[in-house]
């Protein structure tokens, strides 16, 4: 990274005969630019470490024998610099001419920087003979590699190795034979390249460019927005032409600083997929529901008929009203969306609470960080992160447990990697050896399901070796005595064999974490998706509290939030036990406040959670549901059971963009808006509220989610007249102290504001818990945990462990990304990752079809050999409808958070089985 620029200190020097002021930390090139003097440059790119290799920015510095690269030199007081005399210009021009001589006739992109500078300095018709041109490499679905336009500036190398730290691009060989390579000179599409596109964004000449000449198309407009996928919340710019997104470019947002991952950069085309729902649909009488009923998304009319909006909305609302009248308000439930906007989520929970009349509202956080949030609310009084991911730059020790950010929060992972390269120590705790292990100073491959054993052992070391921050514990926590008592039985020597990590390592790690100046813990589903998920999180909280590693820069607790707006959805009350801002529905004060704000009576009993609602549907206790932007038929554990429940509903209203597995069982389907078609706010994992803007208009007769929810609300008798998201946001501010100080105007102009921001004018607080915790007495509560086993452990019949999770290229249930050309091209088929020796034991090899069965179901997938997977387990992502992983998973719940144990159940493997000949959603594709 460049030296930080200190705006308060200036250095006066002489540039081209004029006195010029440079800020401390600026280079000559930067100071010149700021003063209106343009010096040619190619290998320098703002935001990137300057490398000084192209030599087109040469300037003469008085007293120096040779010319100097202005991009790499800092001005000194009274330094005399000339960028435009004969000598400097001669070098600048020869460099441009040398590079030009080797360029192909056509530009691969319109804003080719070499072309720009050559034109500016009037360099043309190079007098040198060209080099041999390498062939094009078009093996990557999204990126075209044309190294005949490469000027060897190494911006792509820095982008890949220093920014994204994916370490794919190298600069191999020597001299004139030097070339940009991927891995060991392999075709890009065959390499370890993850198609993040950072190199494309960095390349000045288009040698690395979007495939199919996308960069050559001149957009009609550019729209600044945010990414629809994960909780990192990258800011981006859509390039739009003829109402289509043609390209996505990274924007400098607080969470991403211009970086993107393969999904955000190349996964934008799903909005225009032919399966997009464009008219309301009502189920045909002859399409009888069952748990196995399915619809071909290419042919919805096989089960539905088209309807007008009025008919469909009336039908939807009337169905709810009927059930409410006949069976009571508790027979209704709603699943809102963690991918929709805050405004949509807020209105949705308000609809359930004031329209249905119960707290039976939930969303996929239940399947994700529910246990983390419960533990945090209990322990520190707040369910959100204490420090943003970016704080890792201030950490000396970074602990990552039960998370694979390289796959699930790729851009956040790049900042973690940057911190490690700068010297931070990474402690990676995960039974799977994921890619991050290469950079870990300590990698702990503990046995699945033994989190509490390991974490309590760490606590044991800290307590018994006097590493506790006594002052912090005394002043800012409560219940330490109980914790201390409890961990007595958890010595590293005893826990070692249980968790599979030797005592010495446990001690080293505990000491490292405790003693460092700033330690931070980031965690994910490995912690939360267990029947002891809440206990797991309690241990993490305890670790940070007893060592005082919280409430300061570079410290704290960060549950990495998955969906782009799961933080926001929870914040605005899309959960059964709380109103917006986490005040419990059975809290008398809160209850009174919201009855007043919403002008109606409200149920004070916490509602049912996702899995409980499905169970109630199976039992016939819940007969009507409104599901918006969620796909529980794929994402809920024990799919057979979930689909059974959904099929038994009398009235299922599904609002979505595609015919999802859940929609197969709907009575009415309402076609809604994609992320790139709506205006709204979205809250990322860092508590950053950001604005997302529409880049395209809606196709066919699809409508805005917000409008649809309002229309149903109106038909339920609610007096709603929100003109748009801004109105809803302003009501949210009245409901939620945490964002009360954020104005819509500020969001529009700044793009992003962190909460808490309680008064207008507050900047927004990134690091919280500096002085106290939002609990009654201001202290954090330490809650001891004991070992609880997974609900269903391997046995003779089902001897292996199933771990479910995600993949880089696909998002969750795959409804969006399986419909994206680039993403599905990279990972088109269902796979099960398994250790090669376990494959051997089955007499199978990589690429064979395996059938994986649990007590609940059976699926067949392609075996992928991965020696990072622990022996005796298999890892499956839940994004393939052809082999839905949740058909196998166990709906056993954590008692406090009601989250299901999708990270652990028992399965058996056999070689053989069939995968469908037609894969994915390209309905014309055939398999030979």
């Amino acid at each position: 990274m460049n030296a930080p620029i200190n705006l308060s200190n200036t250095i006066a020097f002489n540039l081209n005969g004029n006195k010029v002021e440079a800020f401390e930390g600026e280079t000559i090139l930067q100071a010149a630019k700021r003063n209106g003097i343009e010096i040619p440059h190619l290998c320098y790119m703002e935001g990137m470490r300057p490398d000084g290799n192209c030599r087109s920015c040469m300037v003469e510095i008085k007293g120096e024998r040779v010319l100097a690269p202005s991009c790499c030199r800092a001005p000194k007081p009274d330094m005399e610099v000339i960028s435009n005399n004969e000598r400097a210009l001669a070098s600048q021009k020869i460099v441009l001419e040398l590079l030009l001589a080797d360029m192909p006739k056509q530009d691969y992109k319109p804003d080719n920087e070499l072309t720009y500078w050559a034109k500016k300095l009037k360099v043309s018709n190079p007098r040198f003979e060209p080099r041999m041109s390498p062939d094009a490499d078009l093996s990557n679905a999204a990126i075209a590699v044309n190294l005949d336009a490469c000027i060897q500036c190494t911006r792509c190398v820095r982008a890949c190795r220093e920014e994204q730290v994916n370490d794919v691009i190298g600069y191999a060989f020597r001299g004139e034979h030097s070339e940009i390579v991927f891995d060991m000179g392999d075709p890009m599409g065959d390499s370890t390249c993850v198609t993040c596109g950072e190199c494309v964004q960095a390349c000045p000449t288009g040698a690395l460019a979007p495939a199919k000449n996308a960069a050559q198309i001149v957009p009609d407009k550019k729209v600044d927005s945010v990414c629809p996928y994960c909780g990192v919340g990258c800011q981006l710019t859509y390039h739009v032409k003829d109402n289509h997104i043609i390209q996505v470019v990274g924007r400098d947002g607080p969470a991403n600083h211009g970086r993107l991952c393969v999904k955000g950069r190349y996964g934008f085309d799903y909005s225009k997929h032919q399966h997009r729902l464009t008219t309301p649909l009502i189920r045909r009488k002859d399409a009888l529901k069952s748990e196995t009923y399915s619809v071909d998304p290419a042919n919805p009319l096989a089960a539905f008929r088209e309807a007008t909006w009025d008919e469909a909305l009336d039908f939807a609302a009337n169905g709810f009203k009927k059930i409410k009248a006949e069976k009571g308000r508790l027979a209704l439930a709603g699943f809102g969306s963690a991918k929709g906007s805050n405004e949509e989520a807020y209105l949705f929970q308000k609809l359930v609470r004031t329209g249905f009349g119960s707290n039976n509202v939930d969303h996929c956080t239940r399947l994700c960080h529910a246990s983390s949030v419960v533990a945090l609310l209990e322990g520190v009084g707040s369910g959100a992160v204490s420090n943003p991911v970016a704080d890792v730059q201030y950490s000396d020790v970074i602990v990552i447990i039960g998370a694979n950010p390289i796959v699930n929060h790729p851009v956040a992972a790049t900042f973690i990697k940057n911190a490690v390269k700068k010297g931070a120590k990474l402690i990676l705790i995960d039974p799977r050896r994921t890619e991050l292990a290469r950079l870990a100073t300590h990698y702990l491959p503990f046995k699945p399901d033994t989190d509490v054993a390991l974490l309590n052992a760490l606590l044991h070391v800290i307590v018994t070796e006097g590493l506790v921050d006594e002052k912090f514990v005394a002043e800012r926590t409560e219940n330490y005595a109980a914790l201390k008592e409890n961990i007595q039985g958890y010595s590293p020597e005893v826990m070692g064999p249980i968790c599979g990590i030797d005592a010495e390592t446990i001690k080293q790690v505990a000491r490292l974490y405790a003693k460092s100046k700033a330690s931070i813990i980031l965690w994910g589903m490995g912690i939360s998706q267990h029947v002891h998920g809440t206990d797991n999180a309690r241990c993490l909280i305890a670790l940070s509290m007893v060592t005082g590693q919280v409430g300061r820069r570079g410290t704290g607790l960060h549950p990495l939030r998955g969906q782009n707006n799961v933080q926001g959805a929870s914040d605005v009350g899309l959960i059964p036990m709380s109103f917006p801002d986490y005040v419990r529905v059975d809290n008398p004060e809160a209850h009174a406040k919201f009855e007043k704000l919403w002008g109606t009576e409200l149920d004070s009993k916490p509602g049912l959670t996702v899995v409980e609602i499905i169970d109630a549907a199976v039992d016939g206790k819940i007969t009507g549901m409104y599901i918006e932007g969620e796909n529980p038929a794929m994402s809920d554990p024990n799919t057979h059971h979930a689909r059974l429940g959904l099929s038994r509903l009398e009235h299922l209203v599904v609002q979505d963009i595609f015919m999802t597995e859940t929609a197969y069982l709907a009575d009415v389907i309402l076609p809604a808006s994609t992320h790139a078609e709506k205006l709204g706010t979205f809250t990322n994992t860092d508590r950053l509220v950001q604005i997302g803007r529409p880049a395209m208009t809606l196709p066919g007769d699809a409508r805005q989610d917000l409008w649809i929810i309002q229309e149903i609300g109106k038909r339920l008798g609610l007096d709603w007249n929100y003109a748009g998201p801004k109105d809803v946001f302003n009501e949210m501010r009245l409901a939620m102290p945490s964002i009360a100080g954020i104005t819509w105007e500020r969001l529009e102009s700044e793009g992003a504001v962190t909460y808490p921001c309680e008064q207008e004018g507050d900047p927004g607080q990134e690091v919280i818990f500096e002085d106290d915790f939002p609990r009654p007495n201001g202290r954090a509560k330490l809650v001891p945990a004991d070992i609880i086993h997974a609900d269903e452990r391997p046995d003779a019949d089902y001897p292996m462990v199933l771990v479910t999770g995600r993949m880089l290229e696909h998002w969750h249930t795959g409804s969006m990304t399986r419909r994206s050309g680039v993403l599905d091209a990279i990972e088109p088929a269902p796979i099960a990752s398994i250790h090669p020796l376990d494959l051997d034991a089955e007499g199978a090899k990589a690429g064979d079809i395996l059938t994986i069965e649990s007590r609940r179901g059976s699926i067949a997938l392609i075996a992928r050999a991965d020696d990072g997977i622990p022996r005796g387990s298999v890892f499956i992502a839940f994004c393939y409808y052809e082999a839905a992983a949740n058909l196998l998973t166990n709906p056993a719940l954590d008692p406090f958070a009601k989250i299901a144990e999708v990270k652990y159940c028992a399965v058996r493997l056999t070689k053989g089985g069939d995968i469908p000949t037609k894969l994915g959603y390209h309905s014309e594709a055939a398999v030979a």
């Binding site: 030599r55 000179g185 390249c193 064979d848 055939a926």
Partner: protein, 564 residues
């Protein structure tokens, strides 16, 4: 979006059955683990480990390279870009054929070219057959015995097709060891007494540094920075400080370091240790070019002897091998190489004295510069400055090769002229050869005509003519040679050796070769190109590469006028 996609299931399963990229197979992993044994996997040892693999298997397969990367926690490309940078590593990818078991390397640099290297290469390729690889390589540091062919690691001097064939057939592939002064012998001749005195506190570091300053000894690798001053500068920076000794002697025409190593290695080691003591050095790395296999055996043996029975406390000393890259003779590129990376010179400032090895202040010296420390300190600065000719001071080891009767390393007064060297030290020109021109300082020091053969040869004296003495690698040529051909040979050398980092050198050397290969040189364009290379290249290679071109244009214009 609606493209018809016919997917072959077998292909699909094969592709999706594996993780992205090249998978390391367990057999390769086991082999690499065995090769590495218990040695450290620290990243700076990458080149050392690559040598182990190349030595054992005769090449480095992609699988082995990937397994090594894995062992060292590097990405595949990090290992690949380093392995492919150095010419001594044969990286063989899947489907490619490994080289034959034996390689005969024939030098084709300036002097060897004069003595028929091209014909030798052609004839050897024809007569040795396909089972033997014949490679053209850059200067192997035996120019006084040109032409040279190295059979495995065994140098065949004054090579002919027959003499090479004989060695090949006899399978003599190891370097013969010269008769050098061993540790025991060196001790007998008062070796290490001075060092012992230093460590015992009988000598004062400040005094020693002053002696070195007063002697006027300047770096003998080519850059000529005053030795004593450098010690003072580095000593002024905070500890820990490191030291790097440069024995990457690669400048065509230079072989003095080899000469002294093969004669009296401990004199250099003692000088090195005294420097380390005076400056306060925590650890020393010695970087030896890989072409000097015989020297490597000598140094390995003598370092072991020294460490087993040290004369006094010594800092850690690590010996490192180069891997076939002239650019690693450039001090910052050498430091990069010791750190396990490609030999790409660093941008300065900061200079090595301030930020060198592993971010620490570093004392970097050419081997010969510390070779003289013992003599200078024992005999006094005045002993050294008493030598000299034409008002220059000191002694200089000239590596002389070319059309003279007695080529070799000649220790002569600094400031001596070419003519004087030919007459007094080299026994005159070879019969039938008339003095026509000479390289005063290797391929990078420029080319001068005979009628400029009376210029004193020393630091600073040649700069006004667009030349420099560098490492005092003097190549003498005659009317049987053409300066423009030797200049082209030099530029081809620079083109091959350019690290590729910066445009003026990477592209400039290649374009210069193209221009020089034409019958008629485009002199204005070559001059323009030369100016930019001199002004804008990152390091001395690019900056000096144009010197032969400018000199031919200035001093040998007759060669460029018509079809000579």
């Amino acid at each position: 979006m609606s493209e018809v996609k016919i997917v072959n299931q077998d292909k699909l399963r094969k592709r999706q059955g594996k993780l992205k990229g090249r998978i390391v197979d367990p057999a390769a992993r086991a082999e690499i683990a065995a090769v590495l044994g218990k040695t450290s996997r620290a990243k700076d040892l990458l080149i050392e480990h690559l040598h182990k693999i190349q030595d054992k298997f005769g090449h480095i397969s992609a699988q082995h390279l990937a397994a090594l990367a894995d062992e060292m926690k590097l990405s595949q490309t990090e290992a690949y870009e380093v392995a492919t940078f150095y010419h001594h590593f044969d990286v063989i990818k899947e489907g490619e054929t490994p080289p034959p078991a034996l390689t005969v390397r024939v030098c084709d640099s300036v002097t060897c070219d004069m003595f028929g290297a091209q014909a030798l290469i052609k004839d050897l390729k024809a007569s040795l057959g396909n089972g033997i690889r014949v490679q053209s390589v850059p200067c192997v540091g035996r120019c006084n015995l040109a032409p040279v062919a190295v059979v495995g690691q065994n140098p065949v001097d004054n090579a002919t097709v027959q003499s090479v064939k004989t060695q090949v057939q006899a399978k003599t592939v190891t370097a013969p060891i010269t008769d050098y002064i061993s540790y025991q012998q060196y001790l007998v001749e008062s070796g290490y007494e001075l060092y012992k005195d230093c460590i015992a506190g009988k000598r004062n570091a400040e005094d020693i540094i002053k002696i070195m300053e007063n002697s006027g000894l300047r770096g003998l690798g080519g850059a000529g920075f005053p030795v004593g001053r450098k010690w003072r500068i580095v000593a002024g920076y905070a500890a820990p400080r490191y030291m790097a000794v440069n024995i990457d002697e690669g400048e065509p025409g230079t072989f003095k370091d080899r000469h002294y190593l093969e004669l009296d290695p401990h004199r250099f080691l003692e000088g090195m240790l005294i420097a380390a003591w005076a400056v306060g050095i925590a650890k020393i790395w010695i970087y030896l070019r890989d072409e000097y296999a015989g020297c490597r055996q000598i140094l390995e043996k003598e370092l072991t002897n020294l460490k087993k029975n040290p004369p006094a406390n010594m800092p850690d000393i690590e010996l490192r091998r180069g891997a076939g890259a002239y650019i690693c003779g450039e001090e910052s590129a050498m430091v990069e190489s010791i750190e396990g990376k490609r030999g790409m010179p660093r941008l300065r400032p900061p200079f090595l004295a301030e930020v060198g090895l592993f971010g620490r202040p570093t004392l970097e010296h050419n081997m010969e510069s510390v070779y003289w420390v013992r003599d200078i300190v024992e005999k006094g600065a005045e002993w050294f400055t008493a030598h000299g000719r034409h008002e220059r001071k000191g002694l200089r080891s000239f590596s002389i090769s070319g059309r003279v009767k007695k080529p070799g390393v000649h220790l002569a007064p600094a400031g001596i002229t070419m003519r004087e060297l030919i007459n007094e030290y080299c026994d005159g020109m070879l019969d039938g050869h008339e003095f026509y021109g000479y390289f005063p300082g290797g391929a990078s020091g420029g080319i001068l005509p005979a009628d400029m053969g009376d210029i004193p040869l020393d630091f600073d004296t040649l700069n006004q003519y667009g030349c420099f003495i560098g490492s005092a690698a003097v190549i003498v040529f005659s009317q049987h040679d053409r300066a423009r051909d030797l200049a082209l040979n030099s530029l081809k050398f620079f083109e091959d050796e350019s690290c590729g980092q910066c445009t003026p050198c990477r592209a400039g050397t290649a374009k210069a070769v193209q221009l020089m290969q034409k019958t008629t040189w485009d002199q204005p364009l070559l001059n323009e190109l030369s100016g930019a290379m001199m002004d804008a290249s990152i390091c001395g290679l690019g900056q000096a590469a144009p010197n032969p071109i400018s000199c031919v244009i200035k001093y040998f214009p007759q060669e460029l006028m018509s079809r000579n």
